[in-house]
C-alpha cells in the first residue's frame, strides 16, 4: 500500500489533533478500544436541538486512528444526528482522503464507531449490526 497514507494532512492531524480533550457533562460518551493494536478512543458529544453542539475525543493510537478522530470530530460539529447516523466506511475514507486498506481500516473507523455508538446511547437504542461491524 502506498505511502500517501502519510499525506501531509494525516500527519498534521496526528501531530496536532483537533478537538482533543474531554467535555464536561456530555450528552453521551463512548469508549472504543482495539486490543490488537492498542488504539484507544473515547468520544464525547454534546447534543442540542438534534444537532452536535460540541464534540471532543480523547485517547491514544496510531497516526490513522488519531488523524481520523481529529477529522471526524471537525466534520461532525454542527451536523444533525440524522446525518451522522448515516455515516459509514466510505464516508470516513472520503473524509481522510485515503483508503488505508483492509489491515488498517479499523484504525480509520474506530472513532466513527465510538461516535455512532454514542448516538445510539443518546437515543436509548442498541447499536445496529452495521455499527458493531465497524
Amino acid at each position: 500500500m502506498a505511502l500517501d497514507l502519510y499525506a501531509e494532512e494525516i500527519i498534521s492531524n496526528y501531530e496536532h489533533p483537533h478537538n482533543k480533550g474531554k467535555i464536561d457533562k456530555p450528552s453521551a460518551e463512548m469508549h472504543e478500544h482495539n486490543p490488537v493494536c492498542g488504539d484507544d478512543i473515547t468520544i464525547y458529544v454534546k447534543v442540542s436541538k438534534g444537532k452536535v453542539e460540541d464534540i471532543k475525543f480523547d485517547g491514544s493510537g496510531c497516526s490513522i486512528s488519531i488523524a481520523s478522530a481529529s477529522m471526524l470530530t471537525d466534520y461532525a460539529k454542527g451536523k444533525s444526528l440524522e446525518e451522522l447516523e448515516k455515516l459509514g466506511v466510505k464516508d470516513i475514507i472520503n473524509l481522510i482522503g485515503v483508503d488505508p486498506g483492509p489491515a488498517r481500516l479499523h484504525c480509520a473507523t474506530i472513532s466513527l464507531k465510538a461516535l455512532k455508538e454514542a448516538l445510539f446511547l443518546y437515543n436509548h437504542k442498541k447499536p445496529d449490526v452495521e455499527t458493531k461491524r465497524l
Binding site: 493494536c37 496510531c62 497516526s63 488498517r104
Partner: protein
C-alpha cells in the same frame, strides 16, 4: 558453515516482490516460509498416494501410513524423545498446551492447588491455565521479570516454588523479548518441589537444538509452521508414563482399541490422543521440514542466527531514538533472533506500514502477550522483526533504510 545464498534458492517466496520491492521477510516468529521440498512433499502425497492411514489394506494406504509414522519418528529424534509413542500430533502449540490443561490438568489440579507460569508467556501458555484455575478452583501464580525487564527473576521463581505448584509452565524463548530461558535449570528446581514442567517450545524448536531428555521437562509443545513446515500441525511431547496416565479429551475413531455400547478401551500411544482422521498431508510435510532443518544442522542454524542478531542489535543500538526491548547484544547468548523495537513515539502500526511500503514484513501489536507488553513494557504495541536461516545482513540494510524513512515521515530526530 551455512550457505545462505543456496538456502534462499530453496524458498520460492523469497524471489517474489511485495509492493514492488523484493520481499524482505522478517516475521518469522509469527510463521516461517516454506522450502520447495516441503511444498513438494505435500503435493506428492496428494498426487500419488493420497489415502487414509491406519486400516487400509491396499498399497497407497500402507504408503500413507508409513510416511505419517516416519514423520513422527523424525520429530521424536529431532527433540530426542524416547520414541514416537511420546509424540502427539495436534493442530499447533496452542492445542498442545490446551490438551495438557484439559486432560492432565483437569485430573490432577484440585481446589487450592497452585499453577505457576511467568510474566513472559504467550497467551497460549496463559489462557489455558487461567481457564483451568477457574474450573478447578486453583490459584494461578506468576514468576516475575527482573529489574531489567529482560529476564525471569530467579528469586521470584524460587519464592513461588515454595508454594509447591502442581505444574510449572514456561516458554523457552520469549516471542516478544527474544529472551532464552534456562528451562533445564527451571525444570530441575521445579521437580524438587514435585511439580510437573511444561515447556512452550514454539519459539525455540525452530531455532536451536532441542533435547527433551536433557531439559527433563514433562511436556514440550511446538508448531510446525514456525519451523519451515505447513500450518495445521503441532506437537505435544510428553513422557510416556505421564501420557499413559492421561485420558483423551476427544473421542472418536482411531483412538480406541475396543468399543461396546457402554464402554471402550483406549488405543495404544500415541493414537489414544488422535481421534478422527489426522492431518496426514501436513504431518508428512512437517517431516520434510525436519529433514531440511537436519540437513543444515540445528547448531549451524543457531549460530548463524546469533551472528545476524548480534549484528542487527549493534546497528540498532547506534541509532538515536530507536528503543530495543529485550537483552542487548552483549548478552547475545541469552537471546534469540526476535527483536522488538520502537522508534521515538511512533505507533508500531505506523512503523510496520512504512516497512511494508519498503517490501519488509514485520509485525506490530502486543504479539499475544498482553500482560508482558502492556504491564511490563508499558506499551500498547511494539514493532517486531524476527530472523530465520534465510535472512541476510544485506536485507538488514533495507531495515536501516526503512527506519530512516519512518523518522523522516514522523519527524523523529
Amino acid at each position: 558453515m551455512m550457505d545462505v545464498k543456496s538456502i534462499r534458492k530453496d524458498f520460492p517466496i523469497l524471489s517474489t516482490k511485495m509492493n514492488g520491492k523484493p520481499l524482505v521477510y522478517l516475521d518469522n516468529a509469527a510463521t516461517s516460509q516454506k522450502p520447495a521440498s516441503v511444498i513438494e512433499r505435500i503435493s506428492e502425497y496428494y498426487r500419488t498416494y493420497n489415502a487414509n492411514i491406519h486400516r487400509g489394506i491396499y498399497k497407497i494406504a500402507e504408503e500413507a501410513t508409513e510416511e505419517y509414522i516416519k514423520s513422527k519418528n523424525n520429530v521424536a529424534k529431532f527433540i530426542n524423545a524416547a520414541g514416537m509413542e511420546e509424540i502427539i500430533y495436534t493442530k499447533n502449540t496452542t492445542e498442545s498446551i490446551n490438551l495438557v490443561a484439559l486432560s492432565w490438568g483437569s485430573a490432577n489440579i484440585k481446589k487450592g492447588d497452585h499453577i505457576l507460569i511467568t510474566e513472559m508467556e504467550h497467551h497460549s501458555n496463559l489462557v489455558p491455565w487461567q481457564l483451568l484455575a477457574k474450573r478447578n478452583g486453583a490459584i494461578l501464580d506468576y514468576v516475575k521479570l527482573d529489574k531489567s525487564r529482560n529476564h525471569l527473576d530467579i528469586g521470584s521463581l524460587e519464592e513461588q516454588l515454595e508454594k509447591d505448584p502442581k505444574i510449572v509452565a514456561v516458554t523457552q524463548v520469549s516471542n516478544v523479548l527474544g529472551t532464552i530461558n534456562d528451562v533445564k535449570s527451571i525444570s530441575k528446581k521445579a521437580h524438587k518441589h514435585g511439580a510437573k514442567v511444561l515447556v512452550d517450545g514454539a519459539q525455540s524448536a525452530p531455532h536451536m537444538p532441542i533435547d527433551v531428555k536433557s531439559i527433563d521437562c514433562d511436556f514440550f509443545a511446538f508448531s510446525s509452521h514456525k519451523m519451515l513446515g505447513p500450518t495445521g500441525i503441532g506437537v505435544l511431547y510428553a513422557k510416556r508414563e505421564i501420557l499413559e496416565g492421561m485420558s483423551p479429551i476427544i473421542g472418536g475413531g482411531d483412538m480406541i482399541s475396543t468399543v461396546d455400547y457402554y464402554s471402550c478401551t483406549w488405543n495404544e500411544l500415541p493414537w489414544k490422543f488422535e481421534a478422527g482422521t489426522s492431518n496426514i498431508a501436513d504431518a508428512i510435510g512437517f517431516g520434510a521440514a525436519i529433514d531440511y532443518l537436519n540437513k543444515i544442522g540445528m547448531e549451524n542454524i543457531h549460530s548463524y542466527e546469533q551472528g545476524i542478531t548480534k549484528y542487527a542489535l549493534q546497528e540498532l543500538s547506534n541509532i538515536k531514538n530507536v528503543k530495543i526491548f529485550g537483552p542487548s547484544y552483549d548478552e547475545i547468548k541469552r537471546r534469540s533472533g526476535v527483536i522488538s523495537f520502537g522508534i521515538g513515539n511512533v505507533h508500531a502500526h505506523d512503523i510496520a506500514q512504512v516497512f511494508d511500503s519498503e517490501g519488509i514484513a514485520i509485525r506490530a501489536g502486543h504479539h499475544c502477550a498482553m500482560p508482558l507488553v502492556t504491564n511490563e513494557l508499558g506499551q500498547s504495541a511494539v514493532a517486531r522483526m524476527s530472523f530465520y536461516i534465510y535472512n541476510t545482513k544485506s536485507e538488514f540494510e533495507t531495515v536501516l533504510n526503512a527506519i530512516r524513512k519512518v523518522k523522516k515521515i514522523f519527524m523523529v530526530d
